[in-house]
């Protein structure tokens, strides 16, 4: 491995090679071969440290969740207590909000995947460079407009005096309220999550050779069977990845329920916001936040348990 170097090599090889050799040499000293089994951890260490910043923050949050708010001084109580968790457990409102978030996140995943799959499929499979570019541009541009402005656009489109109602009236359907309901919030989440899902699905589909589909087709399988038995199973890493991202992000979303829900379709993040910012009860807000983290992590764990941690390209090739 190091035999390209040598006394006479010094003149013959370009500088870049020497730099590379020096680096290899340094790497060999700093990270000797016997450490090789831990190379994965070495590469992962910076990411673990970066997320640790967040974990440190969560430790602070956990600490404050164990104190109740004293309303005569607006300071947290001195003693430790589980009172905040009890408040959440005893409240029918919070249970309802938690259930709504979970259900909303589930529906968002389903509808987002239904839209994202054909989008990624055509993006990857189309022969037209123009189509591909147009689809990519349509995917990327909405990122540049934040959630709030996009939600505001929907208020105008779906409003009582909005474009959709204008169109409905033209075809003789009476104007109706399309906004401020649970389905509107889910719709808002779906259009927000769609680009993320496509970006995670497309690489997985790219990895499936076109010939595999052709072969299955030539063996007599119709397109639906090819899709179900060949493409979807092979796209599994992408599907799981998209599911994880969409489910966790929509579970913790704040802006869509706030703007498109008309105030009565709160998700947990909205309840947390209220406690932190409106009633100044950081303890209760922290307890809710930790609960949400626990629910989200359990969800992630359940998805891995159901589909195996081997998906998402974990642990090398299967």
């Amino acid at each position: 491995m190091t035999d390209v170097t040598g006394p006479e090599g010094k003149r013959r090889y370009p500088l870049r090679w020497h730099v590379m050799d020096a680096l290899e040499g340094a790497a060999g000293v700093l990270w000797p071969r016997r450490m090789a089994p831990f190379t994965g951890w070495l590469l992962l260490a910076p990411a673990l440290l970066l997320v640790a910043v967040l974990v440190l923050g969560m430790v602070q949050i956990a600490e404050s969740s164990l104190h109740t708010l004293d309303r005569s001084t607006f300071l947290p109580s001195e003693d430790y207590t589980l009172e905040n968790y009890r408040t959440v457990a005893d409240s029918a409102t919070y249970l309802k909000v938690i259930w709504r978030s979970l259900y909303g996140s589930f529906l968002t995943v389903v509808f987002t995947l239904i839209l994202a799959f054909p989008y990624s499929y055509i993006l990857v499979r189309t022969n037209s460079a123009f189509t591909r570019k147009a689809l990519l541009v349509a995917l990327f541009l909405p990122f540049f407009i934040g959630q709030v402005v996009r939600a505001y656009g929907w208020l105008i489109i779906l409003g009582n005096a909005g474009l959709v109602n204008d169109a409905l009236e033209l075809i003789g359907v009476e104007r109706q309220r399309l906004l401020f309901s649970f389905p509107t919030v889910v719709f808002g989440l779906v259009q927000y999550m769609l680009p993320f899902a496509v970006l995670l699905l497309a690489p997985a589909l790219t990895a499936i050779p076109r010939e595999v589909e052709t072969a299955a087709g030539s063996l007599g399988a119709n397109w639906a069977r090819v899709l179900w038995h060949v493409v979807l199973p092979m796209a599994r890493p992408g599907l799981i990845g998209a599911t994880l991202v969409v489910s966790t992000l929509s579970l913790t979303d704040f802006a869509m329920p706030a703007m498109l829900g008309g105030g009565s379709q709160d998700f947990i993040a909205n309840a947390i916001y209220d406690q932190f910012f409106r009633t100044a009860d950081q303890g209760l807000g922290s307890a809710l936040a930790l609960l949400l983290v626990a629910i989200g992590s359990l969800l992630v764990g359940a998805i891995f348990a159901a589909f195996g941690a081997g998906t998402l390209a974990m642990g090398g090739r299967e």
Partner: protein
Amino acid sequence: MTNLKGSVSRRTILRAGAMTGGAAMLGTLPATRLFAQEPEKPSEIIVRAWGGEWVEALKKGVSDPFTEMTGIAVRHDLTEDNEIQPKVWAAVAQNRIPPIHINWDTTTNATKSALRGVTEDLSDLSNLAETTDLAKPVGLEGYPIVNTYGYVYVLAYRPEAFPDGPPTSWKDLLDPKFKGRIALYNDGIGFHFPAQVAGGGSLEGIPDDMGPCWDFVEQMKAQEPLLGEDPDFTAWFQNDEIDAACTISTNALAAKRNGVPIEWTVPVEGCKFDTDGLWIPKGLPENELYWAKQYINFAITAQAQQTWLDGLGLPGVVPGLTPPEGLAGDPSYPTEPEDFEHLIRISSAVQVENESEWFSKFKEIMQG
């Protein structure tokens, strides 16, 4: 938002006015002087303010003249009052210099900060002598906060939807034709007290017997009201989503000035009246604290109040202000004792103690 042309001419006028105002203020300075000599001026001070026409009004009435007089630039931090609170509290708890010099805040929120002990005492401001009772926070010792004006949570409505004239009672909103066409703040703020009366209760029942309030909120829930914040209300009125809302008159006024068809009224049950104020967080260097105090001292002069509150359309805390055009006698602009008859004012102490309970009860009904 004001158009550019208007603000230029307005500014020119102000410049002239600032000379006299400046002289007046400097004349009062020796009385409040905390140091033998004026302490060193910071290059700027940071004032938290609400965005849109709120900050425009403050800038015109207080910040710009203050800069003219002292040479200290004023930077506005537009973080929401609710959202700056944990930032300031954390800074004080961690012994850091707070992110702002002055907080323009609701009296209720400010009271929480005062109870927590993160506010500086402002009792030594010389111009407090010229102010009305409204400037003094109720139920707190000294002046941890100086109230600067009052405002009313009016019943704003779309005139088209009320062809027979303005609604006279909050109960009018229970008409089935307004189903899904009413908006309230999403914590119910401003609505609890009129609801207590409309539900057949009395104001003495606050906070111990709020049953009538919750009955009325339940009735209102059946109307499927929309819940939101100030910008939502304006957007909803504009896009024909709602016919009526319980909102601060300033926002209704701003919407009206920008062409949204909207009027407002105070129904027989009354409307909530409350105040906003200015306060200074603890932990500032002494010279910056001094100049922050001078800013507040200036904000309660008649000159500053007149311009600032013209922009907001609200009654101030010094006597003798001229009401802005069209607002003299308006129910959202109370000045005389009889104007207050239909307005409900509950002490901040009672409010902060019970607010989160009211809030969660309101949520419980609305999210149900």
